[in-house]
Subunit: 158 residues, 2 copies
């Protein structure tokens, strides 16, 4: 079974980086709409989206936020991290078929409470920053190697 | 077909409020995991979650962020809003079966660029704030009444 590991506070250093890549599929936009309840047609109705300045469906901005949060939870620090805060600036629209690469960099550590600050940038396949921000987390103190959860099959009807 | 309407910049006033409620189901956590790629077992594996300080599966923090973003997109200002930035502080875990009510309040307007600042609080069914933050959006200038997108059926296997 595939495992996910973490970096403990003591292993984390200022300047440490990690990357996490996620393609954005049409199905991801449908799933995000269902989970959040955001049913705006600009994300889901190609005919409507064609009448907007975007010209085609765009992903919900916070789907990129979700991908940034996954980078933190899966890569740096990984399992056992407590998410304290996140700032996000949405810079460019994300479209179906884009591939988002999240770049994380540790910019600060606070020994007393094991807080770590991460600079976060989500970059598309053209090298453009689509969203950026700063996360503060409480990092794990214990080394973990956990099973990656296996998702049930998700079938999206026509 | 159900419609979604918006508030234009001129209709929006400082002190204006809106609310948006979303129950958090186990299926929402599965859908969010698939859309983001965050497969940490603390969200998805009840057996594993029982071994953590939470005792049971908790929702991804950014799922609450997604629900806050849906409040902005569906209620205030609604369709046509351009999301510029969001800050989030995660305060309490959200569990399966919780009902999250997002409270939005307009705290500032910037006439020149039609920017609106919103105070955002996500409150659970016990009246506790689970996440809070500030959003900045460019509000619509045109009144819109759009069709709420109809999602395809989503079937989650066993």
């Amino acid at each position: 079974m595939p495992k996910i590991s973490n970096f403990t506070y003591d292993e984390i250093y200022i300047g440490q980086t990690a990357q996490y890549t996620k393609p954005v599929k049409a199905s991801d936009i449908v799933l995000f709409a269902a989970a959040s309840g955001d049913l705006n047609p600009v994300h889901l109705d190609a005919g409507f989206a064609a009448t907007t300045p975007f010209g085609e469906p765009i992903a919900h901005g916070m789907l990129t936020g979700a991908i940034i949060s996954a980078a933190i939870a899966m890569e740096l620090p990984g399992p056992g991290t407590i998410y304290l805060s996140q700032s996000l600036r949405f810079r460019l629209p994300v479209k179906i078929g884009d591939e988002i690469c999240v770049h994380l960099e540790v910019t600060d550590k606070k020994d007393k409470r094991k807080f770590v600050t991460l600079d976060c940038k989500a970059v598309n396949q053209h090298g453009k920053v689509v969203a950026s921000g700063t996360a503060e987390v409480m990092s794990p103190t214990e080394k973990l190697l956990v099973n990656r959860a296996e998702l049930p099959e998700i079938e999206i009807g026509g």
